[in-house]
């Protein structure tokens, strides 16, 4: 009786999750299948798979040969990777400082970080634009990186603090007895142990940055600094939209983020603390 009940429950849960997955994957599926169809076929039957008649890669040709796709692509990569790097570095450092040390202003900083999670950064767009123009950073990738670091830090600090708190106190004290300096303790002991958490943070940070259109549009819209989401917009005209190219560009844009996700998610599974203490 109990077993049957559990199975029914598991089925329910899976049904809900599967439904959600289908809903989430549907638009991506539509983008990908239509990227390989001729323009006419896209409009005739958007949900049909490409057939021999309708198959076309004209969109990819357009994107790869006749636009600055490589520039957009590398801009997005630079912005995303640099932001992730600094979010992880500073996030872990702040989390370590807030959890490990007692100092004046500890609580204040913790509250500020918590507020960062609650208040969307876009509310400050106007002042950010003013600040960037004062700093002569408008139309640079640096402006984007700075904003994304600020955007990613609060959640990073929040998640990493929790993980750092779980590291046994004895480990840090053993290191201190061993004569290891505080900075070395952070890099040689704490960071390796919170790798899985850092991978989680990396995934959470990376996706909104890669997909963002708002800040590239406002802070770095010029030729040569456009990221991929912004670059795609050039195919969307007021009167005519080159759907083949838009869909092809979006399909290509999925790839790098997918690769990064696979890299980070390998780390997610590993539990590294086992064996430290009994």
């Amino acid at each position: 009786m109990k077993i049957r009940h559990d199975r029914a429950k598991a089925l329910m849960v899976h049904a809900v999750l599967l439904t959600y997955t289908l809903i989430a994957l549907f638009p991506i599926w539509v983008v990908i299948i239509n990227a390989f169809k001729s323009r006419k076929a896209i409009f005739n039957d958007p949900l049909a798979l490409p057939t021999a008649d309708t198959f076309s890669i004209v969109g990819f040709e357009e994107v790869l040969l006749r636009s600055e796709f490589d520039v957009f692509f590398s801009n997005s990569m630079i912005v995303t990777l640099t932001s992730i790097f600094f979010v992880l570095l500073f996030g872990a450092m702040i989390a370590w400082a807030l959890t490990e040390y007692k100092f004046k202003g500890n609580l204040l900083i913790a509250v500020l970080v918590a507020m960062g999670i609650m208040i969307p950064i876009r509310l400050g767009t106007v002042s950010i634009l003013q600040l960037m123009s004062d700093l002569n950073l408008v139309n640079t990738l640096t402006a984007l990186v700075l904003v994304y670091i600020a955007q990613g830090l609060p959640l990073a600090v929040y998640i990493l603090s929790e993980f750092i708190r779980q590291i046994p106190k004895d480990l840090k004290e053993a290191a201190r007895c061993d004569g290891v300096g505080e900075i070395k303790i952070f890099f040689a002991i704490i960071v390796p142990l919170i790798k899985p958490a850092m991978a989680t943070v990396a995934v959470f940070t990376m996706i909104p940055i890669w997909n963002d259109l708002w800040f590239p549009l406002i802070l770095a819209p010029s030729e040569g600094n456009q990221t991929i989401t912004l670059g795609v917009q050039q195919f969307i005209g007021q009167f005519v939209t080159d759907w083949n190219s838009v869909l092809a560009a979006l399909t290509l844009a999925i790839l790098p983020i997918l690769v990064l996700y696979l890299i980070f998610s390998r780390q997610l599974i590993r539990g590294l603390t086992s064996g430290a203490v009994k």
């Binding site: 201190r176 007895c177 004569g179 430290a276 009994k278």
Partner: protein, 382 residues
Amino acid sequence: MADLKLTDVKKSFGNVAVLHGIDLDIKHGEFVVLVGASGCGKSTLLRLIAGLDEITSGSMEIGGEEVNGIAPAKRGIAMVFQSYALYPHMSVFKNMAFGLKVTGSDKASIQKKVEQAAKTLGIDHLLKRLPRELSGGQRQRVAIGRAIVRDPKVFLFDEPLSNLDAALRVQTRVEIGKLHKELGATIVYVTHDQVEAMTLGDKIVVMNAGRIEQCGTPLQLYQHPQTLFVAGFIGSPKMNFIEGIVKHISEDCLVLTLSDGTITKAYVDSSGCNLDDVVTFGIRPEHLTEDSSADVSLLATVTLVEQLGEASYLYLTLADGTEMVMRTSGESTTIIGEQVEVGFNPESGHVFDADGGALTRLRAGNTKSVAELAQIKAQLSN
């Protein structure tokens, strides 16, 4: 030389005073065991010596140098934690070498030291493994190895055996004892297990509620406990206590009437006693016999029998309800509910006054003090 000297060391956490003035003198090469019930401050004291917590007042010297406020790394100590605290992402070799590496030793000497320590501990075949691939006993050895390679002045052990199973605990205990003889290092060892304390320590420090109750050799503590607490703490099962009234005082003994009406002598220094004083008479379970022809005998009812094989413990109740334990031969056929006559020799009795202080025993074994033992040891090694 690495003597360790604590003078009036106090520690409070916020408003809560944990240690109320500890004076302790540890000589180079001594194996000192801090023992006491949970929460008596023994681990806190160890952490103060390590420098992981700062002392509130008083002074601490290691090797003649005051170390108040000096970082743990610079005190020349090495600590072995109860939880082992191995770095989980590093191999055994790296775990042991890490401390040396950060303090800037060269590679060749690190290699040599680690290999030597690993050999001493019998873990040289495990150097490439990660901590999670080791058993509890092996992890414990790596933790000890990590301490050894640093060649510290003082080793600190914080209940190192409490995570091991019983068989391994005995084995590791013996090994730690041997290691101490080999290294000749000063060791401060915290435990709540009095068997560990008795077997390992040159000197045992019994702590209670943030104070040192008594400090001495294992046999001193066993034969001449200075307080009721020490008498109850050292020895297992614990000493039996029976209330008594002083009925007669002579130069070398007291005559007591115990609470169940039995009359016994007690060979203790009677100088501070008055007639009709209420005292506590103490007798260890192993000094009671089922022999009714003994000098003094008590009438008791058996309420429980624990058979260990080589011995049996009888749990007894006296006529007035006082509960006692006795150790008897494993062949004893006594069963629950039986009335037994329990005898003892008055010379093995202890007497404590109303404040819990012991009256000096006059006919107990002549135990050597820590200093005397050290002297004999020195003569033997010459």
